[in-house]
Symmetry: C2
Subunit: 308 residues, 2 copies
């Protein structure tokens, strides 16, 4: 079934303790498209400036990404620069230039109005609402956000939008801010009470937690010895989750069991994303490698029943 | 089989965002004894001052803890005071008074020399070595430590002791300090190269990782809505792990599979420890409740094979 992402396409500059890259392909929609195109086509809505390298557009198009929704604006592309600390988890933002992204107004091509699965990446909740208003009858909507939108009038709109989504992705801090609860179990319950049936809390290298009507599912992060660049892990995670649910969705109901499998597929996707800079790992990665790593997750958490 | 713990017995003062307690039973050996006595007898070596309340000694003795090794010294008992922050994970130490613990010299009763399973709680590695020298032929030795001992001449002795232990418990920071590696997978491999066959990295509410000859096992922390006091979680975790391995060990080999079960039993034990102050949760907890929670862990991590 059709899958749509609305988010950012950016040029990132990334410093790690041992390496660096300048102006590489980044942004939530880039990672989402690169990952989800492993399983099928994806529709992309984002904006780039007139300095955006054509090779990146070609890369996406060749993967089966529908780029009709990629707007070209006059000006410079959104740029982000950050540095990862020695633990390769903590990071500091060195520079953010919104550029053409600052006046981004998602305008969906008419052909996107019938989108079934929708990922609203981290953008102003007003825009997330506008996107939903342009879609006839979405079957399954996921939303990502950040601390910046969890305040003032942004928060009011976000809470309205949440009533229209099927799953929200948050980290610890965002879950606490949104719910006013520090305990994650209590926070997730409070957020579900806002009207969103599934809450996914992303905890980086500690994995992710899914809260739904069945209870709690814990998806680990795949332990990696060599993390090259953590940028995009969260969006790759969401992409794997959504693409797995959208794949053959005409034959499969979205059950709690299927959501668990999707979370594992997402965690596997994220684990590959961090093995190289930018979306580069997905230039050569094949679908069966992701499926194999999913089987590896089973071995990581499997244990025989505890008996005294 | 016989199980021995050598560590601290303390009087803790604990502040949480919503409550506080003063001079309650604490210390690594107290938590270890309270938990492991669920499964069978345990031998205790520690020191208390002449101000130590007799009721605590009675509590341990009634649980089947062998207190012949509990030394009574002239002076005040070891005291620790700390405050937990709003997340109930981060904490700050407000006061530490070593008192009689400062000159603690573990002297094992002769009857302890045949101990099979040994837990060397966090004390000076010189003392951990002295303890091992007093045991004839331990079958399985576990060691806990802290950042303070991972430097200078302490570190040299610790590395010697590690060659004599079967498993070491560390947190992220300690694993990095001991190995010189920030990545946890790399750190665990480097620590195993020091001569300790199993490394357990404790990550608080993110669970624990076991590294052994079979690879990696991830044990989650049980998600709790109501955490009352996190003090002693790590020692309760180690206690559950060791007691499970020691239980009926004459009939069961210590396989990688059994170590995984033991880790789950440890994580379940830790999850109960934080549900009340001090060791209080174990005053009423029954063994079958721990076993039931272990089954709950299976449901938290279970998923069907991912298929495309």
């Amino acid at each position: 079934m059709s899958l749509l992402v609305v988010g950012s396409v950016a040029l990132d500059s990334v410093l790690t303790p041992s390496d660096e890259r300048n102006d590489i392909l980044g942004g939530s929609a880039s990672f989402f498209s690169a990952v989800s195109s492993l399983l099928g086509p994806v529709r992309l809505v984002a904006v780039v400036g007139d300095d955006f390298p054509e090779e990146h557009v070609q890369f996406l198009a060749e993967r089966g990404v529908d780029i009709e929704g990629l707007q070209r604006a006059t000006g410079r592309t959104f740029r982000w620069k950050g540095r990862y600390l020695d633990d390769m988890v903590s990071r500091e933002t060195l520079d953010t230039q919104l550029n053409v992204f600052e006046s981004f107004k998602p305008q969906l091509p008419k052909s996107y109005a019938d989108s079934d699965f929708v990922f609203l990446a981290n953008i102003d909740p007003h825009l997330q609402r506008d996107v939903l208003d342009q879609i006839d009858k979405p079957r399954f909507v996921a939303l990502d956000t950040m601390n910046f939108w969890l305040r003032d009038h942004y928060l009011d709109v976000l809470k309205d939008v949440l009533k229209r989504v099927d799953v929200v992705f948050l980290n610890d801090e965002e879950a606490s801010m949104l719910s006013g609860r520090n305990n994650l179990v209590a926070a997730a319950a409070a957020i579900r009470d806002l009207g969103v049936p599934r809450v996914i809390i992303k905890r980086g290298d500690a994995g992710a937690m899914l809260f739904d009507e069945e209870g709690i599912f814990l998806a680990p992060a795949f332990p990696l010895e060599n993390v090259v660049d953590p940028t995009g892990a969260g969006d790759s995670f969401a992409a794997g989750f959504m693409a797995y649910l959208a794949h053959k969705a005409d034959q499969r109901a979205i059950t709690a069991e299927r959501a668990r499998q999707a979370l594992i597929f997402g965690s596997a996707s994220a684990s590959f994303a961090v093995e190289d800079f930018s979306v580069d790992r997905f230039r050569t990665l094949e679908l069966n490698q992701v499926v194999e790593r999913c089987a590896g997750f089973s071995r990581l958490v499997r244990f025989s029943p505890v008996e005294i």
